[in-house]
């Protein structure tokens, strides 16, 4: 009898080695699923693809106001499920010139008899306009505490960067109000 090419020992060793490698791929891919979370955030922060303006003050260099160009800015307010506020923009739309500062308000009123903590999350459409929408002051930068039945105006100071792509004529700023105290989950 000739020498075997594949002995029983070598097959079980080969199986074990292969299974180890395949399990390693499995674990790595499980990790990759989670790695997509920071990758997604970084990609969106760099490219501004998903309309996130970031909850922070924009660092703004002063530049000339472009009087020749008029952009329509629309304001939208929505409430997350189970957020017991009344929440509306003071005006629905404004005509603005790039480079100029503007101020507007959102109105919010606590509809319950106890104190609430809320957080507004901004989003800008079209997505690529997000990085050109610069907020100097915004109630979305911090958590908002409301006393029972309290209603108040919350200011937004913003400006449109003159570098806004020329094909954009309308920019929509949308806020969704989330309840972030413990009871809101």
């Amino acid at each position: 009898m000739e020498i075997q090419e594949t002995t029983p020992i070598s097959i079980s060793v080969a199986n074990r080695r292969l299974v180890k490698r395949l399990l390693l791929i499995t674990v790595a891919m499980f990790g990759f699923g989670f790695a997509m979370v920071p990758i997604y955030d970084v990609l969106c922060a760099i490219t501004g693809l998903n309309g996130k303006t970031g909850g922070r003050v924009a660092a703004v260099e002063s530049s000339a106001v472009d009087e020749a160009r008029t952009i329509t800015v629309e304001f939208i307010a929505s409430l997350n499920v189970g957020a017991p506020w009344e929440f509306t923009p003071q005006v629905n739309r404004m005509q603005v010139h790039p480079g100029q500062y503007y101020q507007t308000h959102y109105l919010a009123r606590n509809l319950t008899g106890h104190a609430l903590v809320g957080q507004a999350i901004p989003s800008v459409a079209p997505g690529l306009a997000a990085q050109h929408f610069q907020k100097i002051e915004c109630f979305c930068f911090t958590r908002q505490i409301f006393q029972p039945e309290e209603g108040r105006e919350m200011p937004v100071v913003f400006r449109i960067d003159p570098n806004l792509p020329p094909d954009v004529h309308t920019v929509t700023l949308s806020y969704t109000f989330f309840r972030v105290d413990d009871a809101g989950g």
Binding site: Q4, F34, D41
Partner: protein, 530 residues
């Protein structure tokens, strides 16, 4: 020279050369690839009827506008569970069952490489589906937010939620173990002389499918784990209020979801590539190009997930990339269809039931492929998104695609497995009723979608009535025809005309050199492949 390869598995199973354990305990403790293949196939058949019953509830409700039979919440549970049951319970286990029965016999191996894990990966499945289906009987009902589990809607699921997530985890573990087993079997247990490029195409397509499975099932497990922690442990992966983003779920889900559709169709390609040469009595045209085409499809499947999300808001560059990458898949798929047609060209064809199903697969899958190309056109997709056009598309590739190939495979190999010929007349009647039923069922849905009928709704505007009625009639015709299939399979298992070893005149391959039915242990001595 290879006689001593036989005890390869003895260190796993000391009564390897004994027959099966007596009684029902056999099925619980078996490590035999044929037994486990049978278990998978019977489980899949059961789930096919469970998921089919859900589909008939959906179609019955949609027979007329307005609400007649079920309430909207239950309707939504039916659409969600129909998808989960059919994908994870019917189609995927059927292909794993075929792999178990056929891979060792096709490559000349005595069994799967890891027989005990094989037993485990099957026996997880009944528990997973008990968890999933038990949600129907819980207060608040089962999951109703669609099988894609998009947050925040899916997070509003009640007590059923953790059951669904854990069921998906278990299905994932089962699939991954099955895939590891397939890869180990194919890479380590081939008979001497069975080089990679001599393997039957069903083996090739399963090898590639198995790699897809271990690459993407863990990603699905990760994404549903994030849903679970978002709901119960206060994380904010997909909660915008906490700094997360619900759109990110769609990216992670479809990174799994698109390769998943190829997991369900590549083994079907393999089955059809075995059957058509047999009944055309010609070798498969373009074997090597089939292997490369399958690999190309598998590779491309990883970079096209964005086409499921054209309307969520994506920059133009992204839409263009996903559009062109998706259309690129039509090239290797076209190569495959061309090869199947060329195999039949001037062949001495006969039209037994497996061949009828295989030919119907080629034609109807191609229709599904073309509607897929239409959906890939980003600007057109804005009209088609979430309409019945999408439903028609993916049912064309999954029902007369994947499901027909499974039925073709069962008719083709059943005489080998049982030693009996099935009833050919009944098989042909089953085929014609199915092929008519499936087209009456799904073809009108194209028109419904183009006219604007949204998917996943229990009620619709009056102008959609006629096409919905036609579709429902087709659904019941198709659904009840499957009872003929069940009857034919059961009768063949119980008895019937004796099948020869080769079964089909034009059949080639190692499995046809074995007796019909094959003994409990086959190829304990590896055959030699020229």
């Amino acid at each position: 020279m290879s006689t001593a390869a036989a005890p390869a598995l003895d260190d796993h199973d000391h009564d390897h050369h004994a027959g099966p354990s007596p009684g029902l305990i056999r099925w619980l403790v078996t490590t035999n690839h044929k037994d486990i293949g049978t278990l998978y196939l019977l489980f899949s058949l059961t789930m096919f009827f469970v998921g089919g019953a859900m589909a008939l509830v959906i179609r019955a409700e949609l027979f007329q506008p307005g609400l007649q039979i079920v309430n909207p919440h239950f309707f939504n549970q039916m659409t969600t569970l129909h998808a989960l049951v059919m994908i994870f319970g019917a189609v995927m286990p059927a292909f794993v069952g075929l792999a178990n029965w056929l891979l060792p016999m096709m490559i000349g191996a005595p069994d799967m490489a890891l027989p005990r894990m094989n037993n485990w990966s099957f026996w997880i499945m009944p528990f997973a589906f008990t968890l999933l289906l038990s949600t129907l009987f819980q207060a608040g009902g089962g999951p109703a937010g669609g099988w894609t589990l998009y947050p925040p809607l899916a997070l509003q699921t009640g007590n059923a939620f953790p059951f669904v997530i854990l069921a998906i985890h278990m299905m994932g573990i089962s699939s991954i173990m099955g895939a590891i087993n397939v890869i180990a079997t194919i890479l380590n247990l081939r008979a001497p002389g069975m080089t990679l490029m001599k393997m039957p195409l069903f083996v090739w397509t399963w090898l590639i499918t198995a790699f897809l499975l271990i690459a993407v099932m863990p990603v699905l497990a990760g994404s549903v784990t994030m849903l679970l922690t978002d709901k119960y442990f206060g994380t904010s992966f997909f909660n915008a209020g906490g700094g997360g983003d619900p759109v990110m779920f769609q990216h992670i889900f479809w990174f799994f979801g698109h390769p998943e559709v190829y997991i369900m169709i590549l083994p079907a390609f393999g089955v059809v590539s075995q059957i058509i040469p047999t009944f055309a009595r010609k070798p498969l045209f373009g074997y090597a190009s089939m292997v490369y085409a399958t690999s190309s499809i598998a590779f491309l499947s990883f970079i096209v997930w964005g086409h499921h999300m054209f309307t969520v808001g994506m920059p133009l560059a992204g839409e263009l990339f996903y559009m062109y990458a998706t259309m690129l898949i039509a090239v290797p798929t076209g190569v495959k269809v061309f090869n199947w047609v060329s195999t039949m060209w001037r062949g001495a064809m006969t039209f037994e039931t497996p061949m009828l199903f295989a030919i119907a697969f080629v034609i109807l899958f191609t229709i599904g492929g073309f509607s897929g190309l239409m959906l890939a056109i980003a600007p057109a997709d804005f009209q088609y998104q979430d309409t019945y056009f999408v439903v028609a598309h993916f049912h064309y590739v999954l029902v007369p695609g994947a499901v027909f190939s499974i039925m073709a495979a069962v008719y083709y190999w059943l005489p080998k497995w049982t030693g009996h010929m099935y009833n050919e007349r009944l098989g042909k009647i089953h085929f014609w009723l199915s092929v008519v039923g499936v087209n009456v069922l799904f073809f009108p849905q194209h028109f419904l979608g183009l006219a604007g009928m949204p998917r996943r709704i229990p009620d619709y505007a009056l102008q959609f009535t006629e096409f919905n009625m036609i579709s429902t009639v087709g659904a019941f015709l198709f659904g009840f025809s499957q009872l003929l299939f069940l009857y034919n399979v059961v009768q063949t298992i119980r008895g019937g005309a004796k099948a020869t070893d080769q079964v089909w005149e034009g059949a080639h391959g190692l499995e046809w050199t074995l007796p019909s039915p094959p003994p409990y242990h086959t190829f304990t001595t590896a055959p030699e492949v020229k």
